[in-house]
């Protein structure tokens, strides 16, 4: 059974159909890329999956159950985490505090426990801190815990967002243009990171314009154009698909 199943997903904004009966599956443990020219509806699909938008038609199944219509934070606790195309970190807070935000939904201590500092709360805090530091080290930001998030380089901010998403303990990680603004070395490191994330057992769905990253990191591609799926398959197949070539380069 696939981990994520998109069925005839449709979203309209007024007269514009941004996503038009899109269907595809993401198998457990796979790395799938969602590509297409600008305005194809890729980020809209992501926003639909994560509950930021509500679908007009179609369904989204995560691990067999429908997550359509659920609130974003509920979807996160079910195991779907994301990064944003325009980085959405808590700029004024520290790196560690940003990652801790992701850990929130896996912790339990509430108002009273927080005030009274019960043994349970203290233990939970220690463990959360340790966990988050590990995630930071995993993405390559070890030692930067106390820095203010906004002061990080663009590439590192993207890594921080990934760390925050990983801290939620997801099964499916959705990355929206994770290489945006990265130079070649950083992109190279990112490919490695994506591989290591897969090794941990996570499933990855990503949007990316950097074709070299897409070709190397993804096992399976889904191509959108003007809201419709026009092709699907391995990178090799998709690369040579005439419809895809036309979409990106225009007809001759």
């Amino acid at each position: 059974m696939s981990l994520l199943s998109i069925r005839n997903l449709t979203k309209r904004f007024g007269g514009l159909t941004a996503v038009n009966k899109v269907s595809f599956d993401v198998g457990e443990g796979a790395i799938v890329g969602l590509i297409g020219p600008n305005g194809a509806g890729k980020t809209t699909v992501f926003n639909l999956i994560t509950g930021n938008y509500q679908a007009d038609e179609g369904d989204i199944l995560f691990s067999g159950t429908s997550i359509k219509g659920l609130r974003t934070n509920k979807i996160v606790s079910l195991g779907v985490a994301r990064t944003f195309q325009t980085i959405r970190l808590f700029q004024k807070l520290s790196v560690l505090e940003n990652v801790l935000a992701g850990r929130h939904c896996r912790m339990k201590a509430g108002l009273v426990a927080g005030m009274l500092k019960t043994p349970f709360e203290k233990k939970e805090e220690r463990e959360a801190l340790a966990f988050c530091q590990e995630e930071l080290a995993f993405v390559g930001l070890k030692g930067q815990e106390s820095m203010v998030a906004g002061s990080l380089s663009y590439g590192n901010q993207r890594l921080l967002e990934i760390a925050r998403a990983l801290a939620t303990g997801p099964r499916l990680l959705i990355l929206d243009e994770p290489a945006g603004g990265m130079n070649e070395q950083e992109t190279e490191a990112l490919v490695g990171l994506i591989g290591r994330i897969k090794e941990r057992g996570l499933t990855i769905l990503l949007i990316e314009h950097d074709m070299s990253l897409v070709m190397r990191a993804c096992e399976h591609l889904v191509v959108l154009e003007y809201g419709c799926k026009i092709a699907e398959g391995t990178p090799e197949i998709v690369k040579n698909d005439p419809k895809v070539i036309e979409a990106y380069l225009g007809a001759d």
Partner: protein, 317 residues
């Protein structure tokens, strides 16, 4: 690290000076400090809503009133001792906070502000009109008992001083801990960027309600202390201007920062006492200060600072 130690010393010294104040100040000034103390509790409670959660609430006096009237009513009608009324008024005020926030907390900033102002006014009018026959109308409720602690009746300003500031100390202690907990962080996240917070898995709507409830509950308890100190309460003490003053304290002192809020309270409540002659122009100065502050120092006197995680420092070589 040196900074931390300096701050701790300053804080300790200040606490010592404050704690011994009744020994060297006359009754009038002790009473001023009592006022400062009550406002400090109110400001700290509003700080959770406004400074930490970032929700514009300018009707905080309403929760103060709910607490005060609850305690006054239970005390004068049922003889409930004041210190027992403390937690009850807190709970009732907390529920009032939930009631008010539930339908409106999703509104955009300035609109939430106006709604809270409206709520405050409706409550005040309800108090004046003696709704349900509970509130005693424009004359309010009188004959409220003094608090009795272990058989000792608290009556003089000096005695109230320790009750009030003891409560302030406990409040600071608990709120400081809260700030460095999962709950406290959640408020920061939803204040900074709600979409990112939701996307990180935080139920922002629920935490906004919690913030209102905690803030309201504490204001309610301050109300009980106030009621027993004054022995008489009436709607005038809970006007819009009270809400404005508390709001100003939080904003100018440095929203989100506990020390800043305390400093703000001393400045705004205590300082005018030193310039009694200008009492008339006090509000005029406030208005001017607000405008100037926003242009030159938006964060207030002591701005928000990112947390320090002690365990981190220990791990580094």
């Amino acid at each position: 690290m040196i900074n931390e130690k300096n701050k701790l010393c300053a804080f300790a010294a200040f606490s010592l000076i404050l704690a011994t104040a009744p020994l060297y100040l006359n009754s009038y000034w002790v009473d001023v400090l009592n006022s400062v103390g009550l406002y400090a509790i109110l400001a700290l409670s509003l700080n959770i809503i406004l400074g930490d959660a970032g929700l514009y609430n300018m009707g905080h006096a309403a929760f103060f009133a709910v607490g005060a009237y609850t305690a006054a009513y239970l005390n004068t009608q049922f003889g409930l001792p004041i210190l027992w009324a403390l937690p009850v008024s807190g709970i009732v005020a907390g529920l009032a906070g939930l009631l008010v926030a539930r339908p409106v907390v999703h509104l955009r900033g300035d609109y939430l502000l106006i709604v809270t102002v409206g709520v405050g006014e409706i409550l005040r009018i309800a108090l004046i009109n003696d709704v349900f026959g509970l509130t005693g109308g424009p004359n309010g409720i009188f004959g409220i008992d003094r608090p009795v602690l272990f058989g000792f009746k608290i009556r003089k300003p000096q005695e109230f001083f320790y009750l009030i500031w003891g409560f302030v100390a406990v409040t600071i202690f608990l709120f400081y801990r809260l700030k460095n907990s999962r709950f406290g962080r959640a408020l920061d996240y939803l204040r900074e960027d709600m979409t990112a917070a939701e996307g990180s898995g935080i139920d922002t709507g629920r935490y906004q309600l919690y913030a209102f409830m905690v803030g309201a509950a504490w204001a309610g308890m301050a109300g009980t202390l106030y009621a027993s100190k004054m022995s008489i309460i009436s709607p005038e003490s809970f006007s819009f201007w009270e809400s404005v003053v508390i709001f100003i304290i939080v904003i100018l002192g440095g929203s989100g920062n506990i020390a800043g809020v305390l400093l703000g309270t001393f400045l705004i409540i205590g300082l005018p006492e030193l310039f009694r002659g200008f009492a008339n122009a006090r509000m005029w100065f406030f208005g001017l200060a607000m405008m100037i502050m926003m242009i030159f120092r938006t964060e207030g006197i002591l701005p928000h600072r990112p947390r320090v995680f002690k365990s981190l420092d220990r791990q580094r070589p």
